[in-house]
Symmetry: C2
Subunit: 331 residues, 2 copies
C-alpha cells in the first residue's frame, strides 16, 4: 500500500501539500496540484482511514443494535440504516444483542475502543446509566429508552385503538388480545390501546387478554388456550405480526376458519404477513422510513452534538388483507 509519503516523494512536494490537495484545504498552486494528482493516480494511492481516524478521534462508523436480526422485523430496519450509512459514507456495524444487557455492554465497550461515532439501538433492557457512561450519540428506535435520548417510535397506543375499533366496526362482538412481553414498552402501550377500547364493553373480561412472548410458537399456545376458554371470540388483536401468524397457525390446527369465524389483526406490517393464508390484516409500520429517520437523526447528532433532543413519532396504518372480514348485517 502506497502512503502519503510515497506520493509526496513522487510529486516532489511535502506530505503536507499532498494532504492539502487530498482534503481540499488551504492554498495549493494548481500546477503542483496537478503533479500531486498524477502521483496519486500513478501509485493508486488511497489514504489510510485508520491513521485518519486516530488523528481525528472519530471513525465514520455507526452501529445498529437489534435483539436478533432473524426476527423478521429487523432486516428491513437494518437495510434502511445501512442504506443511509452507505450514502453518507459511514461504515455500518450490526450487533445482535439478544436483549441481553451484558452483551450490550460488551459491544459498547468494544466499539467505543474503536471510536464508534454513533449508535442506533433497539432495546428493552439497555439502561440509561450505561449509555450515559459511554457518552456517545444514540438514537433509540422502536422502544424509547428513557427521557433524554432522541428516539423514533410509532403511535402504539393509538394504533392499537384503531385496530380494535376496526374489529368492532366490521362486526366483532367479542375481541381478545394476545399481549406481548410485559417488559417491552411498546407491547404495554399496545395493550393499553386495546384496553382503552374494550374496558367499557359489557362483554369484556380480563381473561380475554393472554400474555406471551413476541414469537410464533408461544402465540400458538396462547391462542389455543384463549379459544378453549372463550370459544365465542370473533375478533383477535395480536400485539405483533409474529403472534398473529402464530394465531393463524393455531386456528388452522383447531379447525377454526379465518376470517369467517374469527377476524385477526396484527401489528408491524412485516412481509411475512403477506404470505400466510389467509394473508394478515395488520397495523403496518413504515419500517424502512423509521430506520431512515433514525440514522439521519443520529448523523445530525454526530455532526452537532449539542443539538436539542428530538423525538419523532410515525403513524401506523391499517392494511386490510384476508384475515379479517366484514360481517353481514343481520337486521
Amino acid at each position: 500500500m502506497a502512503t502519503i509519503k510515497d506520493v509526496a516523494k513522487l510529486a516532489q512536494v511535502s506530505t503536507a501539500t499532498v494532504s492539502r490537495v487530498l482534503n481540499g484545504n488551504g492554498y495549493v498552486h494548481s500546477e503542483t496540484k496537478q503533479r500531486v494528482a498524477v502521483a496519486i493516480k500513478e501509485l493508486n494511492y488511497r489514504p489510510n482511514d485508520v491513521a485518519r481516524n486516530l488523528f481525528k478521534g472519530r471513525s465514520k462508523t455507526i452501529a445498529l443494535f437489534v435483539p436478533d436480526i432473524m426476527n423478521p422485523y429487523f432486516p428491513e430496519l437494518a437495510r434502511a440504516v445501512e442504506d443511509v450509512a452507505q450514502k453518507e459514507e459511514y461504515t455500518f456495524i450490526l450487533c445482535n444483542t439478544d436483549d441481553d444487557l451484558e452483551k450490550e455492554r460488551k459491544y459498547l465497550e468494544a466499539l467505543t475502543q474503536k471510536s464508534l461515532d454513533g449508535l442506533v439501538i433497539v432495546s428493552s433492557t439497555m439502561i440509561s446509566e450505561y449509555i450515559k457512561e459511554f457518552n456517545i450519540p444514540v438514537v433509540a428506535l422502536d422502544r424509547i429508552l428513557y427521557e433524554g435520548v432522541p428516539s423514533v417510535t410509532v403511535n402504539n397506543f393509538e394504533g392499537a385503538q384503531e385496530a380494535v375499533k376496526y374489529l368492532k366496526e366490521i362486526g366483532c362482538k367479542k375481541i381478545a388480545h394476545l399481549a406481548g412481553p410485559q417488559d417491552v414498552r411498546n407491547a404495554e402501550q399496545r395493550r393499553g390501546g386495546y384496553m382503552s377500547e374494550v374496558e367499557q364493553e359489557s362483554w369484556f373480561q380480563s381473561s380475554l387478554v393472554e400474555r406471551g412472548g413476541y414469537g410464533i410458537e408461544e402465540a400458538m399456545a396462547s391462542t389455543t388456550r384463549l379459544l378453549k376458554a372463550h370459544p365465542d371470540i370473533d375478533g383477535l388483536f395480536a400485539a405483533n405480526d409474529l403472534m398473529a401468524v402464530g394465531a393463524i397457525k393455531a386456528c388452522e390446527t383447531l379447525g377454526i376458519n379465518i376470517p369467517d369465524q374469527l377476524s385477526i389483526v396484527g401489528f408491524d406490517g412485516i412481509m411475512l404477513g403477506k404470505t400466510t393464508s389467509p394473508s394478515l390484516t395488520t397495523m403496518a409500520q413504515p419500517i424502512y422510513d423509521i430506520g431512515t429517520a433514525a440514522v439521519e437523526m443520529l448523523i445530525q447528532q454526530i455532526r452537532d452534538p449539542d443539538l436539542l433532543i428530538d423525538m419523532k413519532e410515525f403513524q401506523v396504518k391499517l392494511v386490510e388483507r384476508g384475515s379479517t372480514i366484514r360481517k353481514e348485517e343481520v337486521t
Copy 2:
C-alpha cells in the same frame, strides 16, 4: 479517555511497561504489574483500538457482503457470521450489494482503507480480478466465485435430483421446474439436477421449465403461465423457497389445491416456508452452519494467509411438510 500515558504516569512506570502488562509480553516484575493493574482499574483505562490497528495494520474486523439482507435467506446467515465474529472478538460489518458490481467495488475500497481483515461474500457478480486486486482473505458463500477462492456451498445438483426423485416417488407423473436466474450459479446447478432426472422421461418437454427471478412476485407469474400451458402438471420443483411460496400463492388464486392436485417442493429451508398454508416441503440447507463454517474458514485464512484453499460442501436435507402428498396407489 485515559491513555496509556496516564496509566504510566499514575503507576510511575514507562508506557512500554504498561504496554507489556497489557499484552502479556516480555518480563515484568509482578509487583510493578500490580501497580499497573491498579492504575488501569483506577483510570478505567481501555486501550485505543484505532491506534493499535494503525500500528498493526489490521483491524479485527470482518465484513459480510450479501445481495440484500431483506431476502429471508440472509438474516440467518448474517446471524451465524456475526455470532462467530463476536465470539472471536471481530467486529462485524454488513453490506448490501444488490448484486451490483459497482457497489461491491465501492464497499471493498472503503473497507480496505479501514484495514478490513477479511470478507465473507455472497455474490454472483463479483469477479476474480477485483478480489485479487484487493488482496484480502475472502471466503465465498453459497455461490462459488471462481477457482482459487475458498468457498462454502451445498450440493445443489444432487439436492435438486433428490427433490425430483422424491416427487416421482410420491407418485407425480409430470413434474415442472421453476428455474432461477440464469446468471446465478446455484440456480443453474439446481436446474441441472432437475434436468438430469427428467430428461429421459417420456412426458418431459422443455416447456416444463419456466425461468424467472428469485422472487415471489415473479414466481407467481411464472407459475400461472406454467399451469395455463400444462394444466396436467402434478409436481413442481422450485429453485428456491421464495419461488415456491410464490407458486403456492398463485395456486391459491387459481383455485388449485395443494397438495392434492399439485405437490410443490422448494429449496433453501427458510423460515418463511413454515408459515405458509400449506407449509412448504423443501430441500433445507443448514444455513446457520454454513455461515459458521464460512467465518471460521475466513478467520483461519486471516491467521495463516498461505493456508491451502479449502472448499467445504454441505448437504441439503429433505424436509417434508404440507405442500406435498403421497398419491394413493391405484393398482
